[in-house]
């Protein structure tokens, strides 16, 4: 199992993560990231990894990857 971590203060509300993996990420009214599911099963790792990499300010990490 892999785990999503948010780096505090970095998110600028691009929404790139939501664009790529909307089952895992959402945004509040302030546009800042909300992680919907922290734990990522093997089958979804590639998708979540793409979402994490799509962040322009590296506000997300996928641990155990």
């Amino acid at each position: 199992m892999h785990r999503i971590e948010v780096v505090e203060g970095k998110c600028i509300g691009a929404g790139n993560c939501v664009d790529v993996a909307e089952d895992y990420f959402d945004q509040g009214d302030d546009a800042l990231v909300i992680v919907l599911k922290e734990q990522v099963p093997e089958g979804d790792v590639a998708e979540v990894e793409r979402a994490v990499k799509a962040c322009p300010v590296a506000a997300l990490r996928l641990l155990g990857a």
Partner: protein, 430 residues
């Protein structure tokens, strides 16, 4: 093709400027297999850092110096990227293809990427350099402003743009008496649609920030010790303040390019592939003026999006030897206290606007059209609108009609969220 193939001939790449654009270029070059030297030169005495937090969480004390570093900044040595900090470039010699550093070192380049950024525009009125007049651009600036904001009782922000309003919102939340002076007839004049400006004005006034529009400043007035004590306007009004933040925009750092003989006009001029007027010399980010599809003219864009996407484009062009055409949907985001503005596209040429959602609910968007075509959105506390519109804009840029027309947007059953399909993961550009 022979000429293009020659472009990818290995040799040192020198990236001048270690802000977001320069850093991303160096990282992307290494990640895409550039095996030769990569030299990254930055004139600040700091590791590369993210700028957006400087006017938000760093200022609020929620992040320390190390927290704002770009992820990966500490790994530059492992990636064998030669990072020269607190180093400037003395000379760029296009004839001998040499970059001469302030340390005396001279590097013969195969490619140069100019990512020299921008500096705050300064007021030209008397008193502009008084003690207590601050700017916000660098980490060092932010450290000064942070300390100042914590101790000052009153702040006048000159300039109602993104940076000015972000800082104003933060200072107001600390209990500082804040006044924003804007020279134009609305806030965010250069970057936002009128509906956004109006909403921002109501929002900031509601949280206690005083805002004056159409202000002509004649002088910054000092006390007996030479410290600023207020801002005097042309109509004779004196706005008293212990601290003045001058946030009237930035201007490109293009002196090095100019001295080298490159074409410069409001920034370093580049073509649709982000190439300057000299071979093997590229320019990206805040300092580069490029042909923007939406505006049908050259412009500079000042944003993280622009820095990152141009950096990745140029790195890929250098490694592959295939320049291609740079195309991206521009976007920016600004968090001003409880007000979040996200804007995508460019609305300079729009001729109609449609308001979507209810401004009184606090969350709504304004769509801008050029004829029947969507050219931009300002989303206020509405990230879903922003995402949908960005997807539509991306489709249109790629030549795929989205079905979102002005006529459709004006219909009673219009739902923005129904437009814009998910991007094919294979073409995500980040």
């Amino acid at each position: 093709m022979t000429e293009r193939a020659a472009d990818s001939t290995p040799g040192p790449v020198v990236v001048i400027g270690a802000g977001k654009a320069g850093f991303e270029t160096a990282i992307a070059l290494r990640a895409s297999g550039w095996n030769d030297r990569i030299v990254l030169v930055g004139d600040e005495d700091a590791l590369p850092y993210e700028r957006p937090p400087l006017s938000k969480d760093f200022l609020a004390g929620k992040m320390e110096r190390d927290d704002v570093l770009i992820d990966g900044a500490v790994r530059l040595p492992q990636l064998e990227i030669e990072f020269h900090r607190a180093t400037s470039v003395e000379r760029l010699d296009l004839e001998s293809k040499e970059v001469v550093l302030s340390t005396g070192e001279s590097i013969r380049y195969s490619h140069v990427v100019l990512a020299t950024g921008a500096r705050p525009r300064r007021l030209t009125v008397p008193g502009a350099d008084l003690e207590g007049v601050v700017h916000l651009r660098t980490l060092a600036d932010a450290e000064v402003l942070k300390t100042t904001a914590e101790t000052t009782e009153s702040l006048v922000v000159i300039g109602g743009g993104y940076v000015g309003l972000e800082v104003a919102a933060h200072a107001a939340s600390l209990g500082v008496r804040v006044r924003v002076l804007e020279g134009m007839s609305r806030l965010l004049n250069r970057s936002a649609l009128p509906e956004t400006s109006e909403h921002a004005l109501r929002h900031h006034r509601a949280v206690g920030i005083e805002v004056n529009l159409d202000v002509r400043i004649s002088e910054l007035v000092s006390d007996h010790d030479g410290r600023v004590r207020g801002v005097l306007t042309e109509d004779g009004t004196l706005f008293e303040a212990e601290t003045v933040l001058c946030a009237i925009g930035i201007e490109p750092c293009a002196e090095l390019a100019e001295r080298a003989g490159l074409a410069v006009a409001n920034g370093i001029q580049v073509d649709e592939s982000l190439r300057t007027s000299a071979p093997h010399v590229w320019a990206i980010g805040d300092c580069a003026s490029f042909p923007v599809p939406y505006l049908r003219q050259h412009a500079r864009l000042e944003s993280v999006q622009n820095a990152v996407e141009q950096a990745r484009f140029v790195a890929s062009a250098i490694v592959s030897g295939q320049p291609g055409v740079y195309r991206a949907v521009p976007w920016v985001a600004s968090k001003q206290g409880a007000l979040t503005v996200q804007a995508a596209g460019l609305t300079g040429n729009h001729d109609s606007r449609v308001v979507y959602g209810d401004p009184d609910s606090g969350g709504f968007s304004t769509l801008a059209f050029d004829g029947e075509t969507l050219v931009g959105i300002d989303a206020i506390n509405s990230p879903r609108h922003f995402l949908a519109a960005r997807r539509v804009l991306t489709q249109e840029l790629n030549g795929t009609p989205s079905g979102l027309t002005l006529e459709r947007a004006r219909s009673s059953d219009f739902r923005l969220e129904d437009f814009g399909r998910r991007r094919d993961p294979e073409v995500v550009s980040g």
